[in-house]
Assembly symmetry: C2
Homo-oligomer: 322 residues x 2
């Protein structure tokens, strides 16, 4: 099959079809989105990965290794990205996404979705309700990461929340936060990107000066820029919360005195359960296709990755059927 393969460099290759291992299903990939994590793999920030990247995808189940899962065949699905052992301390605690023995689709010791076919554990498969369009369903994984924040902390309508960032993840996070009724401000630096929020009547700010003197119950960094951390931490009220949603290649530094004196919490937030994201898309009918900048065929996957690195781009999709 055709696949986008990474081993120090990225190239389109012809590689063997995945084996239908016990407990897994073979999915024919329809489309897959390029995420910042994929770009970090390419830059070598995420060390040790070689294979097929890609973890945001939709596809159709072709083959299941166990007859009790026959009902999944021909269903349009996506899949949770953490492949877990169900036996370690973290799995036992009900925190499977922190499984000590996990592999992760397209990120850690497991091939991902930029290919014609992908093999995933049956338990990871999430059917996509028919009323969710393909273009929206492609965002289920990052939207689940956005909803993860609300699995970690309670956000209520009386809270002032600042979201830093205007990229794909920031947009999805804004959307997830809007559901809480909180008093949301989004701070971004790219006029075209942030203007996309107008459709949701979310207050946006382009200049840092406009935030001067403001203070927030919760600040969420989703810009991917270390400046987002430095700027944001100073805008959290005493006993408030700073959510770190982006990862960075370099270390972050902070003034411990202010964190201690103001008793601020800095909370890391990664990926989340797909269930709230699927429910949200199905119930609200929100159409996320406006977040897609371009669609490339799999054969042009390398070009797609180059395009995805451009600042003004939102989501780049790879059509794995072409």
């Amino acid at each position: 099959m055709k696949a986008l393969h990474f081993d120090k460099t990225l190239s389109v290759k012809d590689i063997p079809l995945p084996e239908p291992n016990t407990g897994e299903a073979i999915i024919k990939v329809l489309k897959a989105g390029i995420c910042n994590t994929d770009l970090e793999i390419l830059k070598g920030y995420i060390k040790g990965f070689n294979g097929i990247p890609g973890h945001e995808f939709i596809g159709v189940v072709e083959d299941v290794s166990s007859s009790e899962f026959n009902y999944l065949v021909n269903r349009k699905v996506t899949a949770e990205i953490n492949c877990v052992c169900n036996r370690c301390e973290m799995c036992m605690r009900g925190l499977p996404r922190h499984c000590r023995n996990r592999s992760v689709l397209g990120i850690d010791r497991r091939n991902g979705a930029f290919a014609e076919y992908i093999s995933v554990p049956l338990e990871n498969i999430v059917p996509i309700p028919e009323n969710i369009s393909d273009n929206s369903a492609l965002f289920i994984e990052p939207l689940a990461a956005a909803f993860e924040i609300q699995q970690q902390i309670k956000i209520t309508s009386d809270q002032k929340v600042l979201l830093i960032g205007d990229g794909k993840l920031a947009h999805l996070t804004a959307l997830s936060l809007k559901q809480t009724g909180c008093q949301l401000t989004v701070f971004g630096k790219h006029t075209e990107k942030i203007s996309l929020l107008e459709r949701y009547s979310i207050r946006s700010v382009i200049e840092k000066d406009q935030l001067e003197g403001s203070i927030f119950d919760v600040v969420i960094e989703a810009s991917g820029s270390p400046n987002g951390f430095t700027d944001g931490i100073g805008l959290v009220r005493p006993r408030g919360i700073f959510i770190l949603k982006s990862t960075y290649a370099s270390d972050l530094s902070f003034n411990p005195a202010s964190v201690v004196v103001d008793e601020i919490s800095i909370i890391g937030s990664r990926c989340g359960s797909f269930e709230p994201a699927v429910r949200f898309l199905s119930e609200t009918g929100v159409d996320l296709s406006y977040l897609i900048s371009r669609i490339y065929p799999l054969s042009e996957g390398v070009t797609a990755f180059h395009e995805a690195q451009k600042t003004h781009m939102m989501k780049i999709i790879i059509d794995c059927t072409r």
Copy 2:
């Protein structure tokens, strides 16, 4: 009156008695302890303070400005250190220790306790139960800071907790944590200091190697050393909590990827309500005098401060009646 005064340098001075302002009481100070924060003021790490330092003290109420508080006269007391407005957003939220207009005894725009007399707001006064010895009562303020952790997060008997540090604050924190029944390990570098924990049958560790492969639900940094942060953050389990109890002069840096991927919470923790500390000392009868290294008369306050900076010292007390 005689007072230990700081204005770029520390000296014993003769200064006017404090005014008995409306809403305040004049307390004759008996004894006061030197805290690391006092040493930081001396080093210039806490900028802008000049006046009398000292915020851990016991004394006897001499004069109250309001007759309804007459019952306090001649009572042995200590006092909460944050003097608050009761009007700002933080006070209204029930977070008076984060009052936006606060002054702080001996730390921020208010004279402290290294003097014959101190004036404090009546509402700050905390009577000391008769069954608490003077030497133990001197630790109410830092012990309240230790109990603050349990006001911020729930610590239970099934949790593995690592406490980093072996100084005064670490000892008091260990004591407060022991009450929870948690599985506590204390990691310190000074054999004599850490051996003081033996009386409480608390597991202690001197070499970092002994912690290799261990992982904790909660790690508390109370060593005051940036290494405590760097070492400790790597020992927190996924979704675990790192409590930052010490302040430092320099910035701290961390690897954001590990905090995000493991969804770790870093929580700053400062001073706390006196009530749990007073109740603990009164109910358990724990005698904290073993934590006192030396007592100096007020007239030798400068020497006392120099002594307090020596690594092997635990608490240095100033007797303000001499």
